[in-house]
Symmetry: C2
Subunit: 141 residues, 2 copies
């Protein structure tokens, strides 16, 4: 997903309403450097003079994740705007343990290899969740 407008279009096309709170949360996710928690989002908005109830933010993030407009990064618990759109293969993350930098990627070959491994165990994998933890290019020199 690139740009707030694209996300709004998707919302509309799925029958969801384009509301002020949803636009505000999208804007924060768009500009965030890394993963942000619901309360982070609330604080950021407050600094800009906007007010949103935290419950509203929780519900909006739930919806965004459902629609794949955003993802929850499990290693840190924060949310990020999806950076890939409809790309082949599951969306995954690399997280830098030093600076917290985050990079989203998708790799179809990796998906297929994982499915094959699962199959060897009689398991049908529908979704592959993965996050790499290490050092980004800036921090590993």
């Amino acid at each position: 997903m690139s740009g707030v407008e694209d996300s709004l279009r998707i919302l509309r096309s799925k029958g969801y309403r384009v509301t002020q709170p949803r636009k505000l949360v999208l804007k924060v996710l768009e500009r965030a450097e890394g993963p942000v928690s619901p309360y982070d989002i609330q604080k950021i908005l407050q600094q800009e003079g906007e007010r949103l109830n935290h419950v509203t933010i929780y519900r909006i993030l739930d919806l965004f994740c459902l629609l794949n407009l955003a993802h929850k990064v499990l290693l840190c618990g924060g949310f990020v705007k999806c950076a890939l759109g409809k790309r082949e293969g599951c969306h995954r993350f690399m997280v830098c343990r030093q600076c917290g930098a985050l990079r989203e990627f998708a790799d179809k070959a990796l998906c297929e290899e994982e499915s094959a491994i699962a199959r060897d165990f009689g398991f049908v994998a529908e979704h592959h969740f993965s996050e790499f933890f290490g050092l980004c290019s800036n921090c590993n020199s």
Copy 2:
């Protein structure tokens, strides 16, 4: 890790004490069908007439994860006893979305492929978390 005794041996060898609470938590993890939360563990012990403070359980689980005697399953937030011991490659999980069954595995080739992908992005991956979500052999027939 197989068996409570092995885990106790590792605890001792690293200079940690073998205490009653640690033995109790190990026993619960050993017998659990799937991932259990700290409060799950407390409830299970209560049903057996044992009492442990929840803070103690949190601390014990932290230690077990540090020593790789247990893992936290990110997709569900629960803890499982490590089933692999020192195996080459990161420890990963397949979780059945229907019955909750969990299978731990390690795959060195997958680890290497993931490291290669990371390297392409200038990233040095130190640990690969991954969990597959789908249907186990019992549920996909």
